[in-house]
């Protein structure tokens, strides 16, 4: 049974797919987005120890060069996340897929399904596949993956048998903008979207409306036209950029006007997309 690094879990979420869902966030992401809202999930902890002295509860310790975290005395103040100079956190824990699924099953009666996100969940493909497989084998829950879409076809093939559907970020349609925002080309993202759509495993595309990058109608129209060309009927969720959790230059970005987001929702619908939502 594979082991994976889990950033955290949520026992209920209304915003990660259909129905009430249990969410597993995996640690580690290949993208480095300017506006990342949970940058503490990007890198694996390098045990630098900066966080240890700031912990008010004494829940962090460094011994033999390794930073360890004691869950039972942690007060969840997130001070360690705030001070981490390395876009990581000391609270990610190593778990087997079995342990993850035991945690999920405690809440089975309350949820429609499980969504695995991150970080970037496809960065731990064997672990991801094991978690999804066990959920499918042992529960009646649906399985979703929330991803940046950068994974190769091989990774999608690996998890396909245990995967119900996906939520994929398309951070910008124009590749130059995408590279500025994320540090990566969107070529593989577009391919993944087409692949998942052809398998009827694409539930929703997510687009963060980021000031100066994607707060324009051209990007929206290009995105919508692309989605309309796909095999299955996919939803689009527009997410208003918020500075919460961000580090670096995005902290000072303005929040887009609600009227702009509403106009974008209207435009996407006018172009023919049926399922369009926006964040609050």
């Amino acid at each position: 049974m594979s082991e994976g690094l889990v950033a955290r879990t949520l026992v209920n979420s209304f915003v990660d797919g259909p129905g009430n869902r249990y969410v597993v966030f995996l640690q580690g992401c290949n993208f480095n987005c300017l506006y990342c809202h949970n940058p503490e999930t990007i890198n694996l902890c390098n045990s630098c120890g900066v966080c240890v002295v700031t912990c008010p509860a004494g829940a962090l310790q460094k011994a033999d060069g390794l930073v360890t975290w004691q869950a039972d005395i942690c007060v969840s103040c997130d001070k360690c996340i705030e001070v981490c100079p390395y876009s990581s956190q000391p609270k990610a824990v190593s778990m087997t897929a079995r342990e993850v699924v035991v945690g999920i099953k405690k809440y089975e009666r309350y949820i429609s399904g499980v969504t695995v996100g991150g970080g970037e969940p496809t960065q731990q493909p064997e672990f991801l596949a094991d978690v999804l497989r066990l959920v499918k084998e042992e529960t009646g829950l649906s399985t979703f993956v929330d991803s940046n879409g950068s994974a190769s076809r091989e990774v999608w093939e690996l998890i396909r048998p245990y995967l119900d559907s996906t939520l994929i970020d398309l951070k910008a349609f124009d590749d130059t903008v995408h590279q500025k925002l994320t540090g990566w080309s969107n070529g593989q993202v577009l391919k993944s979207i087409e692949l998942l759509s052809s398998w009827d495993k694409l539930y929703e595309i997510r687009l963060v409306i980021a000031p100066g990058y994607t707060d324009n109608m051209d990007n929206l129209r290009d995105t919508v036209k692309f989605l309309l060309s796909l095999d299955n009927e996919v939803g689009l969720k527009l997410i208003k950029f918020r500075p919460f959790g961000t580090k670096g230059e995005a902290k000072d970005w303005p929040v887009p006007e609600d009227s702009l987001i509403d106009a974008m929702v209207d435009e996407a619908k006018a172009l023919g997309l049926k399922r369009v939502k926006r964040s609050l």
Binding site: D72, C74, R109, Y110, I111
Partner: protein, 535 residues
């Protein structure tokens, strides 16, 4: 200590005495000059003052002492009741047969049917002076939907739904919809979503084996916008009452064609405060004794109403078969379970707290089970609908309640995460054949995902929860306890304008005393946990 629910001049044994005449006149004058009451509300208040000059129906000295101590509370029901507290007529009777009293023939089409119902409602008494039950409005009107064009049907239902709010300005007035999808019911849900009126208070009878999924999703979407309808566990209620039951007023349950003579309640917090001894003796002695006197008080009121006032001999509702004494019962309510449990735990030197710890939660279930048993041991007068026993009701509170949590609820702002919340409440609900309500607060991300709320509803109902009330943190309608008021009415009342809704006057004090506006939202963040700790 004198009970706050008694008026300052009341004398339970003898009625108004000469030395309290000045107090009585002052109350009358205060009512006459109260700018926050409409004329109708003044008339009702004056009638209540007059009624309360009477002695109570005769009870033993000990039972009267319990009333005076506030252990037993009469819920402002008056010293000498002259109509049942709750009446739930079978409105299909006048629709089918017409009414000699109203001089109306049987309804032949939707025009007739809507006219008949709106006329009928003004003749149905209750504690509030308004009807507390509009009937299963979808089933009542569905048979007439084909008698007019679709457009006419829609217009008639629109008029009907609007007039319920304008003619019956009282938030307790309760309509029922479901469990089966009907065209009338669908239109009513649409109208209720559109209007956002306080009236009707609305319950949706739900059985996942009978109700279409998109129909209940519509009901949940309405609830996320307006805090109603309430999702009612139809299977469970059918097991107690059969198909033909009413959800009326503050989630009270009894048969259609009947009602409840009275609702009198125990204050568990006051009982624990008066109790000297340990938890076991509370369960075996105080609880049992209180139950006995509660039923005695209830019986005295039932006997007075039926045998002295002769309500059922004098009412045309009974004469024409809209109601029948054999469908009546009486409700024994309670409040303050949370405080009772926490005080008993504290006395044992334990920090276990209701809603949060299993030992406290287990004690709560023991209290409820024992009280239920003790109540059902006592024969109840004129309660044929429930095998001559009272029915047990988790009461939703009145405006004078301070630091007393309604029924079996967890105190506002102390609610655990929703899963634990459901698991705290569900084990009691099987005992509450007279109704109960549990309120769950959702933030507005739920509005985009009513199916997620439905997941919670399913989990709750499967565990035995009897009624799931959805409240959205920022709705324009504020849930007081079992009824709703408009935010704007609360503001008006605070600024001393009178408001149309009689129930809003009760609500403004309730809001301030019970902290409804602060009712905690189940923010998703609360469930964020780190690593593998998912508590």
């Amino acid at each position: 200590m004198k009970s706050k629910s008694l008026m300052p001049f009341e004398n339970l044994a003898e009625g108004l005495k000469a030395d309290k005449l000045d107090v009585f006149k002052r109350e009358v004058k205060d009512t006459l000059t109260n700018g926050q009451l409409t004329e109708y509300q003044k008339t009702a208040a004056l009638a209540k003052l007059a009624e309360n000059t009477m002695p109570y129906p005769e009870v033993s000295d000990r039972a009267r002492e319990f009333l005076e101590l506030g252990v037993i509370c009469n819920m402002f029901e008056g010293a000498a009741p002259y109509r049942p507290r709750y009446v739930s007529p079978d409105y299909s009777v006048p629709l089918r047969n017409g009414s000699d009293y109203l001089e109306m023939g049987p309804a032949k089409n939707l025009y007739d049917a809507v006219t008949m119902l709106l006329a009928a409602y003004s003749y149905v008494p209750s504690i509030t002076g308004f009807p507390v039950f509009f009937g299963p409005v979808d089933e009542l009107l569905e048979p007439y939907m084909d008698t007019v064009s679709e457009e006419e049907a829609r217009q008639l239902l629109r008029m009907f739904w609007q007039l319920l709010d304008k003619q019956v300005p009282d938030g307790f007035a309760h309509a029922n919809i479901g469990p089966r999808r009907t065209r009338a019911g669908e239109i009513m849900l649409e109208l209720d979503y559109e209007f956002g009126n306080t009236v009707p208070n609305l319950s949706f009878k739900y059985d996942k084996d009978i109700t279409d999924r998109d129909y209940v999703v519509q009901a949940v979407s309405n609830a996320l916008k307006w805090n109603k309808p309430y999702i009612v566990n139809h299977k469970m209620n059918v097991a107690n009452w059969g198909e033909n039951y009413a959800v009326a007023s503050c989630y009270n349950l009894f048969p259609i064609g009947g009602g409840s003579h009275t609702l009198t309640r125990l204050n568990l917090r006051r009982m624990v405060e008066e109790h000297e001894g340990d938890t076991d003796s509370f369960l075996s002695e105080t609880l049992v004794e209180s139950a006995k006197y509660l039923v005695e008080v209830i019986n005295s009121r039932n006997r007075w109403l039926v045998e002295e006032v002769k309500f059922f001999e004098n009412s045309f509702l009974a004469r024409e078969g809209w109601i029948d004494l054999k469908n009546f019962t009486a409700m024994a309510g309670f409040v303050g379970l949370a405080e009772a449990v926490n005080i008993l735990m504290e006395r044992e030197g334990k920090s276990s707290r209701y809603g949060h710890d299993s030992e406290a939660n287990e004690l709560s279930t023991r209290i409820i089970a024992r009280l239920h048993e003790a109540l059902k041991e006592q024969p109840a007068l004129h309660c044929e609908a429930s095998e001559n026993r009272v029915i047990f009701h988790a009461q939703t509170g009145i405006d004078v309640d301070i630091d007393i949590t309604p029924g079996a609820r967890v105190p506002v702002n102390d609610e655990p995460h929703i899963y634990g919340h459901i698991e705290t409440l569900a084990p009691h609900d099987k005992y509450f054949d007279g109704g109960v309500s549990s309120i769950f607060v959702f933030d507005n991300t739920a509005r985009d995902n009513p199916e997620a709320v439905l997941d919670m509803v399913h989990a709750a109902l499967d565990q035995g929860l009897r009624l799931f009330a959805v409240t959205s943190g920022d709705s324009e309608l504020i849930r007081i306890s079992g009824w709703l008021m408009k935010r704007i009415d609360l503001e008006k009342f605070r600024q001393s304008d009178n408001v149309r809704m009689g129930s809003s006057n009760l609500g403004s004090a309730g809001v301030e005393n019970l902290g409804h506006l602060q009712r905690r939202v189940n923010y998703l963040e609360r469930s964020i946990v780190s690593g593998d700790r998912d508590e």
